[in-house]
Symmetry: C2
DNA sequence: GTGAAAGCGCTAACAT
DNA sequence: ATGTTAGCGCTTTCAC
């Protein structure tokens, strides 16, 4: 605490803001106080006041302190519009979320929102992510763009990335030349499959997540791991949602040789699998062990207690923000495509050794 | 379609924008074209261009048409910062969401985001809703505020509402003098309880949602309906989440006289109840009928198929936006507290008549 | 109906 | 290290 949101200029420790009660917990409108007022009250020029407030070099320490104190006393808040207009660059970062109802995307979005506030920039979110949201942001001259699960069409992402610092979170876009941060799908799927193998399962099925690159990587890694174990892969085609999991459970349990373990391409699918298994009269994990992917909050809940491959959201987000910030001060920086290693979180749904 | 986001000035039918392909599907940065350029190209003054673009009265129809066409041709995009600075009012509406991981709040947020784009205003979202988000928005001189499930402390809401047009969605804040849109909790709880009664259930339990006003109203309505039916209410104290539902299921099924139906204060609780019941070996709806509240997307999924009291999100949101818009052009308008009637959506989880 | 002029509140050369 | 001078791109009186 002790920092003021959106006013990086005042972020230096000024010793005047009580972090307990006081200003921090009040909501006050723009006082009507301008930089001019602060300068006048502090007995300096507008430029010096501006420099001090923005922590620009070339201001004597004591002058700066005095100006800051004055600003504080007058309850000064910079006018963002004026700042943006004069400096020709805003401190807003647009976050476009494809499907905010997808818990994993919501998780990423929330983390971005929070992480951004630490940087002196602030987030503008659009949750019905599509091209028009991106365009609206561009029109607002935002400084950078964070794309989460949207838009589907890679073309739009590519064009966006040519206009302003852009990073895509959750998918690897190296091929398209767009900066991105994603999880290592291959490693994640291996982790899950190998764990099931280690528990002694032989009939391990996989419910896929569709035809996206990530889903295909997960499926491929599952297949490879199975083959390495000398086992026959069993794949039920699915999509990243609950209903697909439910349908897959039906298909899988209808086989003559029923699987004793199911690795779902994501947690939503796993939830569908579990719910449907219960309906069919099978017990998880006693009859069937289940593992998911993502680690959405629901997975950790007591009645679900889903073993899953956790995508490290905080790591991914901080990498993403870092990427945007880097590019912001060096547009010529090399394009980075970061891949974060996921980890297996063992809970009840995977059961114990057979 | 045929409208340009964020540029209400150009929103008049200009006949120049192809709604299929064309400009609408391209992303282009700010052309660098200013109002000055448009005016010059159209052979008029900056003021006239400004008026025409904003649909101000006092511009001859043909002049206006000409200016609009020119702007279009030059691919002009107004500089939002300049507009805000000069007019001293922005077209941004802040949406603060308390918990974006709550599907119901996400539903409201998404709807708001979409609805707002139709109004000429645009949404700025903060998803880690707390007072500081509100303050940050105020500092940005947003035009209005939509609060969704946040902040907990009513004081902050009240102070926010004094600063700028504010509406709270999802809770009734009449007592606090803050405009709000909410669902009729009493009606909703009655609907659910009466339906269970009608099916022939006698041992109907309720899992409450805590101590908030809404949760208390739901519980009260449940109790009253039970008493009217000559039955003894059975209440398990809970909170609006999955784990509470799970715990409540344990408690309830441990009773000597087990309930044959459970009305959960919201869908998340219901999900917890259902999951736990499955674990305990009970079948839904055969052994226990379950009804929720909210109608989150998960409720409609095949394996869950939850009967629930649907809060009419689109109605609530359009009422909320309408409220903000009304107050925007008349700060003295009477305070409105709208209550929307929910409806019972019958699915599999409530079973059939006993 | 139209144009000229004066800012909005700030940043960024350019001086000193 | 500090002050002076121009704008940033738009809206908005105020004249005509």
């Amino acid at each position: 605490m002790g920092r003021i949101q959106l006013v990086p200029s005042l972020a230096v420790d000024s010793g005047g803001w009580t972090s307990s009660k006081g200003y921090m917990n009040e909501i006050r409108t723009h006082s009507g106080v301008t930089l001019e007022d602060v300068a006048k009250a502090a007995g300096v020029s507008r430029s010096q006041a501006s420099r001090a407030l923005r922590n620009d070099p070339g201001v004597r320490e004591d002058t700066k302190a005095h100006i800051l104190a004055t600003a504080l006393k007058l309850n000064y808040t910079p006018n963002l519009a004026a700042q943006t207009l004069a400096s020709r660059q805003s401190r807003a970062i647009g976050i476009v979320v494809g499907d905010i109802l997808n818990p994993f995307e919501a998780l990423l979005a929330r983390e971005c929102d929070q992480a951004l506030r630490q940087t002196g920039y602030f987030a503008m979110l659009a949750v019905d992510g599509n091209v028009s949201s991106v365009r609206a942001f561009v029109d607002q001259r935002i400084a950078g763009l964070v794309l989460i699960g949207t838009p589907e069409e890679t073309d739009d992402i590519v064009s966006a990335s040519k206009l302003l610092p852009t990073v895509y979170v959750g998918r690897d876009l190296k091929a398209e030349g767009v900066e991105s941060v994603s999880s290592d799908d291959t490693l994640g799927a291996r982790l899950a499959t190998e764990y099931l193998l280690k528990l002694g399962h032989r009939e391990i099925a996989h419910v896929s997540g569709g035809h996206g690159a990530g889903a295909r990587r997960r499926e491929a890694a599952y297949r490879e791991t199975m083959r390495e174990g000398g086992l026959q892969p069993i794949v039920a085609a699915g999509r990243y949602n609950v209903d697909a999991g439910s349908a897959a459970a039906d298909t899988l349990m209808a086989r003559k040789k029923r699987p004793t373990a199911i690795f779902a391409a994501n947690d939503l699918i796993a939830l569908g699998v579990i719910s449907r298994l219960a309906w069919l009269g099978y017990r998880v994990p006693d009859d069937v062990a289940v593992i998911g992917f993502d680690d959405i909050p629901l997975a950790a809940s007591e009645p679900i207690s889903l073993t899953t491959v956790r995508q490290k959201v905080p790591d991914m987000v901080s990498a993403a923000i870092d990427t945007v910030m880097k590019r912001l001060d060096d547009p010529a920086a090399p394009i980075r495509n970061m891949v974060v290693a996921p980890e297996l979180i063992v809970r009840r749904s995977s059961g114990t050794e057979l």
